[in-house]
């Protein structure tokens, strides 16, 4: 069924449930902002072409920029629009969720109350690669661990659910910021007329969040620690360092001397007060963790433990990022905050639990199987697409290595309108990664990164899997 919302608007694909209702009528938020633009196919195609040139000209890539021909993230010119009321619910829910995750990390490195009370299985924590037992007993500045979080949210049958929590080194905010920059540059009249909340404040909020944890608040020299130009998100590291007035360093550019951290600058050694680390904590300090790592300087963790430098996110936060622990996040909200979770998980099964594992094996065709410590969509398989032999192999693997896997029910991600390669409109799966900064109170960036699947068939939206992005508009009213 195809509906025509107005004289200027072309027929909309019915499956695009982000933008149109089941009957095919555009949702109010879209009708107001998109109707005119959607009628102007030439304008959209032109905007896309100019956007490609705009991104390429700025070297905005996802991939290895040090290599030739790194891909730019495919940018879709049609924004994703969320009404003010929809956003208010997400904002409150994610603030709550990040508070609970932070409390959980503090607990893991403190009294471990939740483990003793059986809220989260101790077995999962003690076997997590993100649980750094050598940091038990360390209380980071202001007792905050998860300063920056990226929570992946999907809309299923009209309800927002959390697909994944990222509190190690969540990336993507830079792509959201440049998507907005591109829209302002290429379609300023359009976005101004729509009345969209600004996301400009991210950098200054991030800076304030980092300054607050500096050992000496009156001087906060911030370094952004990057794994280096071969990292897929290097562009983002460079951009954020600039935006917050920090210095971009790799592991060999900082040294630890008598438990103080210094960076090698043009003028010599300069003290560093806060490190915004984009290196996984297990790689931060070869003296404590992986001896072969060159991504962080030896002695860094001891400097942090003694309070001479602050690190965001606090080393060890990865325990809350372990996919095997994710099923217990709603329980954490109830336990630590004494509140009902305002947003639920996608239905998820803990493979280490015998009963749940049997259920997963029996209903494999409805499941998505994910490795617990991988990101970027690598190793994710759909039971529906497996042959009988593959299903048997998967069942055997889940039996043999229960701790290595997580199962989620396959859900139909909501679909948003996208510009198809031939200039028409099509509906593709989307998710949303809003970023949450945990200062004294959590602050959720109004919008975040909307990722879209590569084509109408694909259900995975990860950038590493060819997914693209679009600007996310949170309407002011």
């Amino acid at each position: 069924m195809i509906a025509t919302p107005g004289p200027a608007c072309p027929p909309l694909p019915v499956g695009a449930d982000e933008c149109v209702t089941a009957s095919g009528a555009p949702r109010p938020a879209y009708a107001r902002t998109l109707a005119a633009a959607l009628g102007d196919a030439a304008m959209l195609t032109d905007m896309r072409d100019r956007a490609i040139a705009w991104f390429a000209g700025r070297g905005i890539t996802f991939g290895v920029p040090a290599l030739e021909g790194a891909p730019i993230i495919p940018f879709d010119p049609i924004p994703r629009v969320l009404a003010a009321t929809e956003w208010r619910a997400i904002d409150r829910a994610l603030a709550q969720r990040v508070m609970a995750l932070d409390a959980f990390v503090a607990d893991c490195y403190g009294a471990q109350r939740a483990l003793r009370d059986g809220v989260v299985p101790a077995r999962l924590v003690y076997s997590s690669t993100g649980y750094l037992r050598d940091l038990v007993g360390v209380r980071p500045p202001r007792a905050t661990h998860c300063h920056v979080a990226g929570i992946d949210v999907v809309r299923v049958d009209g309800t927002f659910l959390v697909l994944e929590d990222n509190v190690r080194v969540p990336s993507g905010i830079a792509y959201a910021l440049v998507a907005r920059e591109a829209t302002l540059e290429l379609a300023r009249d359009w976005i101004t007329a729509a009345g969209v909340r600004s996301i400009d404040g991210y950098a200054s909020r991030l800076r304030r969040t980092l300054e607050r944890i500096a050992p000496r608040p009156w001087e906060a020299r911030i370094a952004v620690l990057t794994p280096g130009p071969y990292n897929a998100a290097f562009f983002e590291h460079r951009m954020l360092a600039d935006a917050i007035g920090g210095v971009l360093v790799s592991g060999d550019e900082i040294v630890v001397h008598e438990d103080e951290v210094y960076c090698r600058c043009a003028s010599g050694l300069e003290r560093v007060d806060v490190i915004y680390s984009r290196v996984n904590a297990e790689w931060l300090d070869p003296l404590l963790f992986r001896p072969e790592s060159l991504l962080g300087p030896p002695g860094l963790v001891e400097a942090w433990r003694r309070g001479n430098v602050a690190i965001a996110n606090a080393p060890g936060s990865g325990v809350a990022d372990d996919k095997a622990i994710y099923p217990y996040v709603p329980a954490m909200v109830r336990y630590y905050l004494g509140e009902e979770p305002l947003i639920d998980n996608v239905p998820t099964y803990d493979i280490s639990d015998d009963r749940q594992r049997r259920h997963v094996v029996a209903h494999l065709d409805r499941m998505v199987i994910k490795p617990v410590d991988s990101s970027g969509g690598y190793g994710v398989t759909f039971g529906r697409l497996m042959s009988a032999a593959e299903r048997a192999a998967t069942a055997a693997e889940l039996e043999a290595q229960p701790r290595g896997w997580l199962a989620q029910e396959e859900v139909a991600l909501s679909r948003a309108l996208c510009l198809s390669p031939n200039g028409g409109l099509e509906a593709r799966a989307v998710d949303l990664r809003p970023f949450v900064l945990l200062d004294e109170q959590p602050w959720v960036v109004p919008g975040g990164l909307t990722r879209v699947a590569r084509d109408t068939e694909t259900l995975v939206v990860n950038s590493s899997q060819g997914g693209g992005s679009k600007d996310t508009w949170i309407l002011t009213r």
Binding site: R116, A122, S127, D134, G137, D259, L287, P291
Partner: protein, 302 residues
């Protein structure tokens, strides 16, 4: 002073050589005997060359860790530990009770019942656990196990290295105390016991006697009441006052006496280690004891 206590003097010397000068180097040293249970350290000195002022912390497992940073270029790092340790005779051998599995699931000691980097819980050790322990949940089964391992495997210095795995021991049929302890831990953990690795020294039997070249390793098993009982899977059976405990952890990886990182392109040779443990006479022990007391007094007055 407990007249039933034995006193030992331990010299533990380590020399690390690099193929060319390095600078700086950062080192973590776990060589201070533990002050827990029936053991206490009367004197302790860690002297390095090039000289450094070691700083100490206590790690997750309760071991003292000394940090030694050397800033000047050096191609050799020597670390000399001189310590006097008093070890009391245990008040009768404990025979801890096994755990209720549901209770252990909520206890911090669960950590020691799970696989760890050097003690993976795979099918081969699971089969051995079924064969050797089966359904027997008693501590006696573990005492038996500690006596079975030295019968089943040959103690042969050089058969394995510090990096060898449990599979190397099972495949080759021979190993040293480290391998025997890792195997014990795997079998005990399969059977649901929290069990940990202990590094240390084995003191000589007679007075004035000394042993050299003996760094030793054994295990401790935790009972449901939270007490740890030591077993020696190299010699078989319970540990005694001659077992001097240095550090404990999930496996060797947690207790390695030295861990170091340096800047430079050099490669490090295998550390040269000499250990000498001497049983002190009553008289010498009392002198050491007085020295320790005097040192404490001075510390308090400062």
């Amino acid at each position: 002073m407990d007249s039933h206590a034995l006193t030992f003097a331990v010299s533990h010397h380590t020399i690390l050589r690099y193929s060319e000068a390095v600078s700086p180097s950062y080192n973590e040293v776990r060589m201070r005997p533990r002050d827990r249970g029936t053991q206490r350290t009367l004197t302790f000195a860690l002297i390095t060359s090039p000289p450094a002022v070691p700083r100490s912390r206590v790690d997750f497992f309760g071991n003292t860790v000394h940090r030694v940073d050397i800033g000047d270029p050096h191609d050799t790092l020597a670390m000399a530990v001189e310590t006097v340790v008093e070890s009391a005779l245990p008040r009768g051998r404990s025979s801890p009770a096994g755990w209720d599995p549901a209770t252990l699931e909520r206890d911090a000691r669960l950590e020691y019942a799970l696989a760890s980097p050097r003690v993976p819980l795979g099918p081969s050790t699971a089969a051995l656990s079924r064969e050797w322990i089966g359904d027997d949940r008693s501590f006696d089964a573990l005492v038996e196990l500690s006596m079975l391992i030295p019968r089943e495997f040959r103690y042969l210095t050089g058969a394995t290295t510090v990096d060898s795995s449990i599979e190397d021991l099972l495949g080759g049929g021979a190993g040293v105390c480290q391998d025997f302890s890792h195997l014990f831990l795997a079998v005990a953990r399969h059977a649901g016991w929290p069990a940990r690795y202990v590094s240390g020294y084995l003191g000589p039997e007679g007075e004035h006697a000394s042993t050299s070249g003996v760094s030793h390793a054994w295990v401790e098993v935790c009972g449901a009441d939270g007490t740890w009982a030591g077993l020696d899977p190299t010699h078989g059976g319970h540990v005694g006052p001659h077992h001097l405990r240095l550090a404990v952890g999930r496996d060797y990886g947690d207790v390695a006496p030295h861990r170091g990182v340096f800047y430079g392109t050099a490669h490090a040779s295998t550390p040269e280690v000499t250990v000498r443990v001497t049983r002190m006479s009553e008289r010498a022990a009392r002198t050491a004891e007085r020295g320790a007391a005097l040192y404490w007094q001075q510390q308090q007055q400062q």
